[in-house]
Symmetry: C2
Subunit: 342 residues, 2 copies
DNA sequence: AAAGCGACCGAAAACCTTTTCGGAACCTTC
DNA sequence: GAAGGTTCCGAAAAGGTTTTCGGTCGCTTT
């Protein structure tokens, strides 16, 4: 590591050092550096020069101690490895990082003990707020400890309706998907979903069925619940095609399921999108673009969700804050697997 | 948000509050809470009771100010969205989180300006160390600013050999892959790599060719460089099969490329693994397990890399620290796409 | 020339914890 | 009863910054 030439090993330059070098008091140095008035222009220049020379960097710990706020927030995920946390985290980091706020990242690994430990550490560090990111959209118990800072729950809502939670609009996503298929002229739409235990799967089904009903259409067969895997998509597509060969679209619970469905369709010689249109959810870039044809998918806008959570956090820090569950919009990303009927 | 019942709105309990409630001085309260001796057992109990009652949480800012170290480290990624940063970050967070260290996460989005800004902020927060995570294994310029804390570069090494860098052993990975194929009895091994501009691709090729030579085997055709995509895998597999129909194994530059190769092999009626064995790199779980058959792959052990970087950071914080580029081991994960010849 | 006023600067307190060192209280022993 | 030792507790300083308030200096006005 390269040590800065200015600092001779031991400790970083302090405001006193700057003041001494500039020949003023610490008070004046502070005012000069922070752009407060009542400082002569020439004096200010001397201070800035001295600070530059010592590569002075104000100690945020001392500043935070005095101000009573640290300028930091905690981001507590329960499952970082899952791919849903990451974009949320990016959005939040984006919104905070643009300001003066730094982000503590903690991953609880789905362990409640670990979570408590992390919360305790964050409280001790006097974070100004806390964003709790869940690993699925199913509700989770609120943080129990005496947390004295604003908390925003993202992705997974808190079970306590008095808390503020930001979640993706899965019902709306299901609706948008079906509306897109209908707009493509499809009328015989089957639905191969994911794991029934996930509210995300059920909510998307609710939205899809509502859109079908609104259009006066009947679903083709029952919704097939299974797992979130490609294997399930392959197997389920076989079953559905056997029973309902007349279908002209398959809505899939996730992009992975859709990949499996595409596999089976190709094996059976059903052309996509001419014969059958296919859609997925999540818009998982690498999965959706790697398939043949590219997969139309509903993007859950998770990065926007993260930004929204961060903004809600800002609001909660100074003003009094909102409560309840808020949803964020999704959007359809059209690729080759859906197209208007000829 | 639920406010703790103990804190009546305004500010968190301080050590003075605890001391007052326990009827002792702050000095004694501090000693009691930190388990120092020279405190009567009964007095200690009174203090602990008081702290509990006020849900006291020591102010890490004040503690850090006094101790001269904050107990935090910065994790600076250049591309969080890429899937390589995440496991490294998890490993590091794991290693740090187990101790008393909290982690600041910053994403520079590949922007040098943004990176400087984040470094400045981290220095101001008096982090005890810094891990810089790159987005590819190609060397990157070192942090220029007068950073007065230990820096460890992970994944992407620093261009300055005086810095400490931890990178995955791509050469070893290539070697291990070919050794596995040879152990399966394959002798006519083709190599479809990824983007030639990435040192990861070139290093893997180096290792693979070394292993072939060590076994007295000739490569089948030239190494095919292209992109890291499924599409490239599909196309390249077609070309290679046309020219070298005798091959009995294809080593692929990444799991995504391997997925494409598998596609083409199936279309051409070549059985995997009986006829042709296929391997990838990265062991990207969802890609490698979703394919038919499951994809044998070389895991780069990125989480371990993150942990190693964190440990190196610890060493650098107290002792004087190491320099140069260190590599971490990879490992072969065997699935259905490779098997001994019958 | 005295008074008044504005512009600029500095001393000191505050934030909260840890550590050092001196002092008080109590007990033992001669 | 005094000397000495042990055990426990408290005063105070340190760490770096910001803010408040009082003070100094020079200039203007009458």
């Amino acid at each position: 590591m390269a040590r800065s030439p200015a600092s001779r090993g031991a400790r970083a330059a302090t405001l006193s050092d700057v003041a001494r070098l500039a020949g003023v008091s610490v008070a004046t140095a502070s005012k000069a550096l922070n752009g407060r008035n009542h400082v002569h222009a020439q004096t200010r220049a001397r201070v800035l020069e001295a600070a530059q020379q010592l590569s002075f960097s104000p100690n945020s710990l001392a500043r935070g101690l005095l101000a009573g706020r640290s300028g930091t927030v905690g981001l507590l995920t329960s499952d970082l490895v899952g791919r849903f946390s990451l974009p949320i985290l990016m959005g939040a980091e984006d919104a905070f990082g643009a300001g003066q706020v730094s982000v503590f990242l903690c991953d609880a690994r789905g362990d409640a003990i670990r979570e408590r430990h992390h919360v305790q550490a964050l409280v001790s560090r006097r974070v100004d707020g806390l964003i709790v990111v869940g690993s699925s959209t199913d509700p989770r118990p609120p943080l129990v400890e005496g947390v004295d800072v604003p908390v925003v729950y993202a992705y997974a809502p808190s079970e306590d309706p008095a808390d503020l939670s930001i979640v993706p609009d899965n019902v709306g996503a299901g609706r948008m998907a079906v509306e897109h298929l209908i707009a493509c002229g499809r009328t015989r739409i089957a639905h191969i979903s994911g794991d029934r235990d996930y509210s995300a799967a059920r909510d998307r089904v609710v939205g899809a069925e509502a859109a079908l009903e609104a259009a006066g259409l009947e679903p083709v067969g029952e919704v097939a619940y299974g797992t979130w895997s490609e294997g399930w998509g392959r197997a389920a597509a076989g079953l559905v095609l056997d029973r309902h060969p007349e279908l002209d679209a398959i809505l899939c619970g996730s992009d992975q399921v859709a990949r499996g469905v595409l596999d089976t369709l190709r094996e059976r010689g059903r052309a996509v999108p001419e014969d059958v249109a296919v859609m997925g959810f999540d818009n998982w870039e690498v999965v959706a673009t790697g398939s043949r044809p590219g997969l139309t998918s509903v993007d859950m806008n998770l990065e926007e969700l993260g930004r929204t959570a961060a903004r809600a956090m800002f609001d909660a820090i100074d003003n009094e804050h909102a409560r309840g569950v808020q949803t964020t919009q999704c959007r359809v990303v059209i690729r080759g697997s859906t197209a208007p009927v000829a």
